[in-house]
């Protein structure tokens, strides 16, 4: 029997490195050259099916621009199972920024978080300023996954998300682990405000698996 697991994935990276475009490509297989900064769509989901028929559902959190003035809320990192930290291969400063985000994740997020460093805009390799070697070396030192992607052409996009899915602890459902949870479909012991059930007692939401 196949199983479905859900994980919270957060996106990080300097403004305009293509975080939202990367997700748009992954989730809807679309690309928009003149995409404005993120408005109104900061919570997407996409499912990846692994070879053993396990399906991994990513609940993807976009920064909604709150990273721009260092104003991301701790809530953003809370219970994140994985993070994609994006830089732009044509902007060396964006890799520096990525390093800062990675330090922030190591400080704030759950220690078991899976982090992928992602060099976006590989279609612009003619203007490359960050070498593959440099980024890979850093990723190896920090124990991060690493890949280059192009949200524009789609190159490497599905691959990096699939690689993350494979690296997640698929043996135990995330909601069973300490600190995880807050997933719309996962098992949880809290109350569901969206359920209108006046008069009902003990609204414990049951696991739907």
């Amino acid at each position: 029997m196949s199983k479905q697991l859900q994980f919270k994935l957060v996106l990080l990276g300097e403004s305009a490195v293509g975080k939202s475009s990367l997700v748009l490509r992954f989730v809807k297989d679309q690309f928009d050259d003149y995409r404005e900064s993120t408005i109104g769509a900061a919570f997407l989901t996409q499912t990846v099916t692994l070879e053993d028929q396990t399906t991994v559902k990513f609940e993807i959190w976009d920064t909604a621009g709150q990273e721009r003035y260092k104003s991301l809320a701790p809530m953003y990192y809370r219970n994140a199972n994985c993070a994609v930290v994006v830089y732009d291969i044509t902007q060396p400063s964006s890799l520096e920024k990525a390093r800062t985000w990675i330090r922030e994740l190591q400080r704030q997020a759950d220690p078991s978080i899976v982090i992928a460093l992602c060099g976006n805009k590989s279609d612009l390799s003619a203007r490359r300023q960050v070498s593959e070697e440099e980024a890979k070396k850093y990723a190896d030192e920090e124990g991060l996954m690493w890949a280059e992607t192009s949200a524009k052409t789609g190159e490497g996009v599905t691959e990096i998300f699939t690689a993350i899915a494979k690296k997640l602890p698929l043996t135990a459902p995330p909601s069973a682990r300490a600190g995880a949870g807050r997933t719309p479909t996962g098992a949880r012991s809290g109350v569901d405000l969206n359920k209108q059930a006046p008069g009902a007692k003990g609204q414990e939401e049951a696991c739907n698996c």
Binding site: K28, I39, A41, Y69, M75, G190, V191, P198
Partner: protein, 449 residues
């Protein structure tokens, strides 16, 4: 920062964040700033380092309290009443998807020297020591009257006019004892003092209905609470605002509120730069709260003081069946005061502290110049107190409505046990800022499968 905004919001407390979120959803261009480098202002939840920095600047948190990051200690003790307006806003804005809620396990009331559970079911009511047998019958008739009330059916009114008759008249009609009145007015209608008794009964009726429907919704108590503390609430609404285009800047000291010759709002100066906007909304601390009047004009006034003692315990509160979370109300009459004393307690079940620690906040409205003594009846119920942080906070209210100068100031967080007055403030400010009532529209679903 040379852009011009519709609204600048100052401070990221819950009131400001709800307004910011709703305004952004409405399509307003919002700039939201806070002088602190964290979200929440007075409604933040602090980790141990932040807590000690605030109350004991010269002392590091003791290691035996556990990991810093396990703590999220609320500064303002409030719960969410399950069927209240905040719940409605949370659901309508879909902000619930960022949050997880748990019940508060019990609601207790102090009477004649001991605490008893506020009955949550008929069975508990029958067994409750709060009323004698005959009083229980009278109370039953009273509650049946309230439950059966229909505005358009005079046969359900039993000769009472909720809009004209005082609550005193209603109590007398059903022959309820003073102790029962205390219980109904304070533990259910959640009034802080007895002023309501001589006023028309309608608001009390509404409050009792809110309480009982909230109680019925999840069972154990009328309250729910967000995991990781109340500080999650402003963060979630800030995210809502950001998703709809709101710009966020933390760690921005505000140097001046700029007005024109007529005193109308022009912009906000921060770090030598002035950002312009049509309107400004902010908490009292950005408008001269606690300082001398600004250019002869007082924008906020102190309307009272609340004393709050944040207590860390290493045991559940005695006599509460080891509840992992609770509210205890000490009605004013029971301890010879004008205002009730509240105890709000949460624990590691709510991911707000290390395991085996219990965080209880005792609070009341200050009546004398010895505020800390006033909460002693509450502190005495806690058992040994491991650590205690006491603060006395002035409550501020704006002196003007903002309609003439486009400066809209929110109210400080009051001594009530829930957020209903916060939502009233939101609705009130919305109406003044937008010129129309706040109507909650269901947010378009943005989850893409």
């Amino acid at each position: 920062m040379d852009e011009e905004y519709d609204v600048i919001v100052l401070g990221t407390g819950l009131t400001e964040c709800i307004l910011s979120g709703l305004l952004s959803v409405e399509g307003k261009k919002v700039l939201h700033m806070d002088r602190n480098d964290y979200y929440g202002g007075d409604s933040a939840s602090l980790n141990l380092t932040q807590l000690y920095r605030k109350f004991r600047p010269n002392q590091a948190p003791p290691a035996e309290l556990g990991r810093d990051r396990d703590y999220a200690v609320d500064l303002i003790p409030k719960f969410i009443i399950a069927s209240g307006e905040l719940t409605r806003i949370l659901v309508h804005t879909d902000v619930t998807r960022y949050l997880e809620f748990k019940q508060i396990a019990g609601s207790f009331v102090y009477r004649d020297g001991k605490i008893s559970k506020v009955p949550s079911t008929e069975m508990e009511a029958v067994k409750s020591p709060l009323m004698g047998l005959f009083e229980k019958r009278r109370a039953k008739k009273f509650f049946e009257f309230l439950q059966g009330w229909k505005d358009d059916d005079p046969t359900t009114h039993q000769g009472i006019d909720l809009d004209k008759d005082s609550m005193k008249t209603v109590y007398e009609k059903f022959g309820l004892e003073t102790g029962t009145q205390d219980f109904i007015g304070h533990a259910m209608a959640l009034y802080l003092d007895d002023d309501y008794i001589t006023k028309p009964a309608r608001p009390t009726y509404d409050r009792i209905v809110l309480y009982t429907s909230s109680m019925a919704r999840y069972g154990k108590s009328p309250y729910i609470y967000p995991l990781y503390g109340l500080g999650e609430l402003p963060q979630s609404f800030a995210r809502l605002s950001a998703i709809y285009g709101g710009t966020y800047m933390l760690d921005k000291p505000i140097d001046a509120i700029v007005t024109d010759a007529d005193g109308k709002f022009v912009g906000v100066t921060s770090g030598g730069e002035t950002v312009k906007a049509k309107q400004v909304i902010g908490d009292p601390s950005y408008f001269g709260a606690g300082s001398e009047s600004e250019g002869g004009k007082m924008r906020v006034v102190e309307v009272g003081k609340v004393v709050r003692a944040i207590c860390l315990l290493k045991h559940p509160i005695p006599g509460t069946d080891d509840s992992d979370s609770l509210q205890i109300i000490i009605p004013q009459n029971q301890v010879g005061r004008r205002n009730d004393i509240y105890i709000a307690m949460v624990s590691s079940t709510h991911n707000v502290c290390a395991k085996d620690i219990y965080v209880a906040i005792v609070s009341t409205i200050v009546e004398t110049d010895k505020a800390e003594l006033e909460i002693a009846p509450g502190l005495n119920l806690l058992g040994p107190i491991h650590e205690k942080f006491v603060s006395i906070s002035p409550l501020y209210a704006p002196t003007t409505s903002g309609e003439s100068d486009n400066i809209f100031i929110t109210r400080s967080y009051d001594a009530t046990s829930h957020f209903e007055t916060v939502v009233e403030d939101v609705q009130d400010i919305w109406k003044r800022v937008m010129g129309s009532d706040l109507v909650l529209k269901k947010r378009e679903v943005e989850v893409h499968e």
